[in-house]
């Protein structure tokens, strides 16, 4: 069963255009010029129950606007959406109790008091049973290693600790659907990893469906089974991640380290393919069909170290953006 069904969703904003400088500010006081920006254009997709969908796109591509509409924060200009059979922006209680929203850039816990106090408030809001509430808190805080921080005022926590509390607050009521807007932004690598494994466990154990945006490819590749790429408000890709490589004919990345000066003729021939060079360490990006020939030639040069890998997803996605904009 599809948990999310989106049909030609469209949303635009009216933005006040200001010319630069004081002169621009002054003339803006008298006559305002507005510009209509279409943030999301005709977006349609579905999400199945238990799926983790990644929405990828550059800043301002329309990812967050889409999520805000799906969580009922914004009204669309056109199109329709159904989540668990509810229309999000009608904000029916049954809909609200089944969703959650974690925003990496915006804390939702009360700042001056310990996270535990906010959790108590959420307990009452969602009408959770005392016993299972205690149990969940104990379990989740242990999993994230923040048990000892539950009674520290949120303002005294580090960003990583705070985000762990935020994520507990987001899943406390066992939502069926969880929106995650850049959940790992600004976090150190260990904390990012912890967050990802936490989300994976939530997904496996409770079957929580998730919609996630992130600029960290690692979030996407280790969590999402499927991605949607949005560019300038439109979906330009919607499929399994592996499909991207096939569709866009990903190149191969070849790392080579030479023992001594590299053959000039070879470098000249593959000049275009050099992606990176650090002393005698070279990284080449080679088309898939040319890899055989390339490897044959390079082995004649007796490299000391040598590896072939796939092109990183972010490079492919970047290429897709660029192509779309052109």
């Amino acid at each position: 069963m599809s948990i999310i069904e989106v049909n030609s969703l469209t949303k635009g904003y009216r933005v006040h255009k200001k010319k630069a400088g004081i002169k621009g500010s002054l003339s803006g006081l008298i006559k305002r010029e507005y510009q209509y920006v279409e943030a999301v254009k005709n977006v349609s997709f579905q999400v199945e129950e238990g799926e983790i969908l990644g929405i990828v796109g550059q800043n301002g591509a329309g990812k967050t606007t889409t999520m805000k509409m799906l969580s009922g924060l914004l009204y669309p200009d056109a199109g329709e959406a159904r989540i668990l059979n509810w229309i999000p922006w009608e904000r029916k209680k049954e809909f609200l109790t089944n969703i959650s929203f974690l925003m990496g850039q915006k804390g939702q816990l009360l700042w001056d008091i310990p996270a535990m106090d906010s959790f108590f408030l959420y307990k009452e809001i969602y009408d959770l049973k005392e016993e299972s509430f205690r149990q969940t808190i104990k379990e989740l805080s242990k999993m994230l290693e923040v048990e000892h921080l539950l009674s520290v005022p949120v303002r005294n926590l580090s960003l990583g600790e705070r985000m762990k509390m935020e994520i507990i607050a987001a899943v406390l009521h066992s939502p069926k659907l969880l929106f995650l807007d850049e959940p790992t932004i600004g976090l150190d690598l260990t904390t990012q990893k912890k967050m990802r494994s936490f989300l994976n466990i939530q997904n496996h154990r409770n079957g929580t469906t998730m919609v996630l945006t992130s600029h960290y490819m690692k979030d996407i590749t280790s969590l999402c089974s499927r991605i949607i790429i949005i560019s300038q408000g439109e979906i330009i890709f919607d499929d399994k991640i592996e499909k991207i490589r096939h569709m866009y004919q990903a190149d191969r990345v070849v790392n080579v380290r030479f023992a001594k000066m590299v053959d000039e003729a070879f470098l000249k021939k593959y000049h275009e393919s050099i992606k990176e060079k650090k002393e005698l360490q070279y990284t080449f990006q080679v088309k898939q069909e040319d890899v055989n020939e390339f490897v044959r030639e390079i082995s004649l040069l007796m490299p000391v170290d040598f590896s072939i890998g796939e092109q990183p997803i972010e490079d492919i996605i970047e290429k897709i953006y660029r192509r779309d904009i052109e």
Binding site: Y13, T64, K68, S71, G72, L73, L74, Y75, R91, K93, L96, T97, I99, S100, F101, M103, G104, Q105, K106, Q108, L110, D112, I113, D117, S118, F120, L121, Y122, K123, E124, I125, Y126, D127, P153, D181, E182
Partner: protein, 269 residues
């Protein structure tokens, strides 16, 4: 009952929130004492060469001013408009939209929670002051049961009315991103019109206007009832108008909230 529990939790949290900053609490209490005592010196000077001012004896005025200062702390919901406009401007409102909680009720109980502590302390200070003041005849405490009841009811309506008033004012932020200029000017005017600075009937010219406007029904009316300065008919009339205003402002707040929500763009990322 369930949803009431929800909002009792809000009330508890906001009280806890208030108790987080010790320095601020102590300072607030100290300054509150001053606001209770300071007018005393002022009015002594005003009454130096007269017995009566617009039908008020010195003791009437002192009672009025002290009571409005004290009750103002509880009844006037000044300040919530700042919270609301900030929530809208900075996108904090989002959480109240995607969680099953009513923002209006949340703000209401949050306000009560914040005021409660302040009010209790003010009452303590007040009762200490009351002993010497009444002994000197500066404070009137002759309340009949009927008047006391009418006073309490009217005070209750006062806080509801005040809440809707400032709630609507906060919602202006849906349309005007920056409304501090509006708030500073209107804040003072509203407090004056509520009768928070002077007994309103000292200004005859204002009477017609202030009786039509909702402001005086927040504070001035309950205090007047307490002072026993109104006839039975006037008390009923006043409370009647209070109720009408409560209903009207509630209606306006619903309309403004609904259309504001549609404009909300939950800014930032």
């Amino acid at each position: 009952m369930r949803s009431l529990r929800k909002y009792i939790a809000v009330l508890k949290i906001s009280t806890q929130n208030m108790l987080q900053y010790r320095g601020n609490i102590v300072l607030n209490w100290l300054l509150s004492t001053m606001t209770l005592v300071a007018p005393f010196a002022f009015w002594k000077t005003v009454y130096a060469d007269r017995e009566m001012l617009a039908g008020y004896e010195l003791s009437d005025t002192i009672t009025y001013v002290m009571l409005t200062t004290l009750l103002g702390k509880l009844l006037i919901c000044d300040g919530i408009h700042n919270t609301i406009s900030q929530d809208i401007r900075e996108g904090k409102l989002s959480q109240f939209l995607w969680r099953p909680i009513n923002y209006k009720a949340y703000i209401f109980f949050d306000t009560i929670g914040k005021k409660l502590m302040d009010f209790v302390v003010m009452c303590l200070l007040f009762s200490i002051l009351l002993i010497p003041m009444s002994a000197l005849g500066f404070f009137k405490t002759a309340l009949s049961t009927g008047t006391a009841f009418a006073f309490l009811f009217s005070a209750f309506l006062g806080i509801i009315l005040s809440f809707f008033l400032y709630f609507i004012m906060g919602l202006v932020a849906f349309w005007m991103t920056e409304c501090s200029a509006l708030y500073i000017t209107l804040g003072t005017l509203f407090y004056f019109l509520a009768g928070g600075m002077f007994p309103l009937d000292m200004f005859r010219e204002l009477k017609v206007i202030s009786e039509i406007l909702p402001f005086q029904y927040q504070l001035y009316l309950p205090v007047k009832i307490y002072l026993g300065k109104l006839s039975m008919a006037m008390v009923f009339r006043g409370i009647g108008i209070q109720m009408i205003w409560c209903l009207a402002l509630w209606g306006i707040s619903v309309i403004v909230w609904e259309s504001g929500k549609k404009r909300y763009s939950s800014v930032g990322n």
